[in-house]
C-alpha cells in the first residue's frame, strides 16, 4: 500500500469510534478504552506522515514512542483513580460521581 490516504481514512474512522465510546459509555474503564483508540489513531497518522511526507529522518517514530509512553502513564494513573472511585462510591459509573456537584 503505497498511498497516504488509506492510512488517514483508517485513522479517522478509529478516531470517530473512540469519540463515540467516550460519548456513549458510562463505565469509566470503557471510556478509557475509547481514549486508547483515539491515541492509536493519532499514532497511525504520525507514522504514515513520516513515511510519505518529505522527511529523511524518523522524527514521526520518535513522536509515536512519546505518545505510547504517555498512554502508559495515563492508563496507570487513570486506573488508580478509577479503583479509588470504586472503593469510595462502590461503582464506576461516571454519572454517580456527583458529590462535588453544586
Amino acid at each position: 500500500m503505497n498511498y497516504l490516504e488509506p492510512y488517514l481514512i483508517l485513522s479517522s474512522i478509529l478516531f470517530s469510534m473512540g469519540i463515540y465510546a467516550v460519548i456513549t459509555r458510562k463505565n469509566a474503564v470503557a471510556i478509557l478504552m475509547g481514549i486508547e483508540l483515539i491515541l492509536n489513531s493519532c499514532n497511525i497518522n504520525f507514522v504514515a506522515f513520516n513515511r510519505f511526507g518529505n522527511f529523511s529522518t524518523l522524527d514521526g517514530h520518535v513522536f509515536t514512542m512519546f505518545v505510547i509512553v504517555l498512554a502508559a502513564a495515563e492508563a496507570a494513573v487513570a486506573l488508580a483513580i478509577i479503583i479509588n472511585l470504586f472503593k469510595n462510591i462502590g461503582t464506576v459509573d461516571v454519572d454517580q460521581a456527583k458529590e462535588m456537584k453544586g
Partner: protein, 170 residues
C-alpha cells in the same frame, strides 16, 4: 491459462483494515466489558501490522510489547477489580446513542472532507532499513531533553499511581 493473481499485499491490507474496524466496533458497542477488552486486543494487534506496512518495525514491536502486553492487561485488571465478584457477566450499556452517532459521524465527515480535498505532497521516500539505529540517534541527540522529561513524567506517574491506590496508613 494463467490464473490472475491478485495483489496479495493489497488483499492483506484490506483484511487488516476490516479486522481493525470490526473489532474497534465491538470495543465501542459490546455490552459485555470483557468482550470489549478482548476485542481491543485484536485492534491493537492489527495496528501493529499496519505499522509493519509503513516500514516501522520498531514501533510495531513497541506496540505489541507495551500496548498488548502492558496497557491491555492493566485495562483487564481494571475491568475485573471494579466489579462485584458475584456478577457473572460484567455489563455496561451504551447511553445517548443518537447524539453520539451524530457527533462522531459529523467528525468523520469533516475529517474525510479534509483528507480528500487536500493536495498531499506525497513523495515516496526509500524506506530506511535500520530504523532502530536512526531512532536511537534521534532519542539521544535531537530529542534528548523531551526524552528525559518523559522519563521523569513516567516515574512521577508510577509513584502517583502507587500512592493513589494504596491503603491509607492508620
Amino acid at each position: 491459462m494463467p490464473f490472475p493473481i491478485p495483489d496479495l499485499g493489497l488483499l492483506l491490507f484490506v483484511g487488516l483494515c476490516g479486522l481493525i474496524i470490526g473489532s474497534a466496533f465491538m470495543v465501542v458497542t459490546s455490552p459485555n466489558l470483557v468482550h470489549s477488552a478482548v476485542s481491543l486486543l485484536f485492534t491493537l494487534f492489527g495496528i501493529a501490522a499496519i505499522y509493519i506496512y509503513l516500514y516501522a518495525d520498531f514501533i510495531a514491536a513497541t506496540q505489541v510489547v507495551i500496548y498488548v502486553g502492558g496497557i491491555l492487561v492493566l485495562i483487564i485488571f481494571g475491568v475485573m477489580l471494579t466489579n462485584k465478584i458475584d456478577n457473572a457477566t460484567i455489563t455496561s450499556k451504551t447511553h445517548n446513542q443518537i447524539p453520539g452517532i451524530v457527533f462522531s459521524a459529523l467528525l468523520l465527515m469533516m475529517q474525510l472532507y479534509a483528507i480528500f480535498n487536500t493536495n498531499w505532497l506525497v513523495n515516496e521516500n526509500p524506506p530506511i532499513d535500520n530504523t532502530i539505529m536512526e531512532i536511537g540517534k534521534l532519542l539521544l541527540g535531537k530529542y534528548l531533553l523531551p526524552f528525559e522529561v518523559v522519563s521523569i513524567l513516567l516515574l512521577a506517574a508510577l509513584i502517583g499511581a502507587a500512592m493513589l491506590s494504596r491503603k491509607k496508613a492508620e
